[in-house]
Symmetry: C2
Subunit: 123 residues, 2 copies
């Protein structure tokens, strides 16, 4: 049973964290039946944290979790912190497979999205 865990940085600003939850709702509506669960967690500053989210997925019977770093660049969070957190999760849930996906910022369509966004006025 597969799950997708979208892992965002987290903000002190509630509206910013709410945006992540709204985005994940959109991902759920768009996804096919491959993922039985699609959820999110925050690295810092908001909840749920990654271990809590993974424990919740495991309780629901998930045994295969794709972790999508919702980060634009391969900074320390992506290259060090997230892999360390997933190693810890592997120890806690040895029967679950974990895959860390490419961070969103490395998607090949990002340059095109930048040019499109540049035309859209701010909030």
């Amino acid at each position: 049973m597969k799950a997708l865990l979208i892992l965002a940085h987290g903000s002190r600003r509630k509206a910013s964290n709410d945006e992540v939850a709204q985005l994940v709702d959109k991902v759920r509506r768009l996804a096919d039946a491959e993922y039985k669960e699609i959820t999110h967690a925050f690295l810092e500053l908001s909840e749920p944290d990654i271990q809590t989210a993974i424990a919740s997925l495991a309780e629901k019977g998930t045994n295969d979790i794709s972790v999508l770093p919702y980060f634009l660049n391969s900074g320390n969070h992506v290259t060090q912190d997230i892999p360390e957190l997933i190693e810890q999760a592997k120890s806690n849930f040895p029967d679950c497979n974990f895959h860390i996906a490419s961070p969103i910022g490395l998607h090949q369509e990002m340059p095109a999205l930048i040019l499109q966004c540049a035309k859209q006025p701010n909030l």
Copy 2:
């Protein structure tokens, strides 16, 4: 004469900042002739900072700058820090028009990109 300024957070990790420069190169290759200059700046932790980048664009004759917040969420950086920095730039360069675009994370294609990225293994 129009310019596009892609404004990223900046990282302590040089490779992460280099990714931004590489991304901006891709944006340049993809863009049409609308923007005479396409460049980047960092909010923190790396250079050039936004005022230095804007001064450089102004020296080249730019009088219209679109600032693209390369941020995923509307956290304090997007809602407070960037608008304050642009207000400061307006005082320094009163003959230049500034537009703050929507942050990249609010692009409507983001949910589809997340699902595509989830299939791509990490670096």
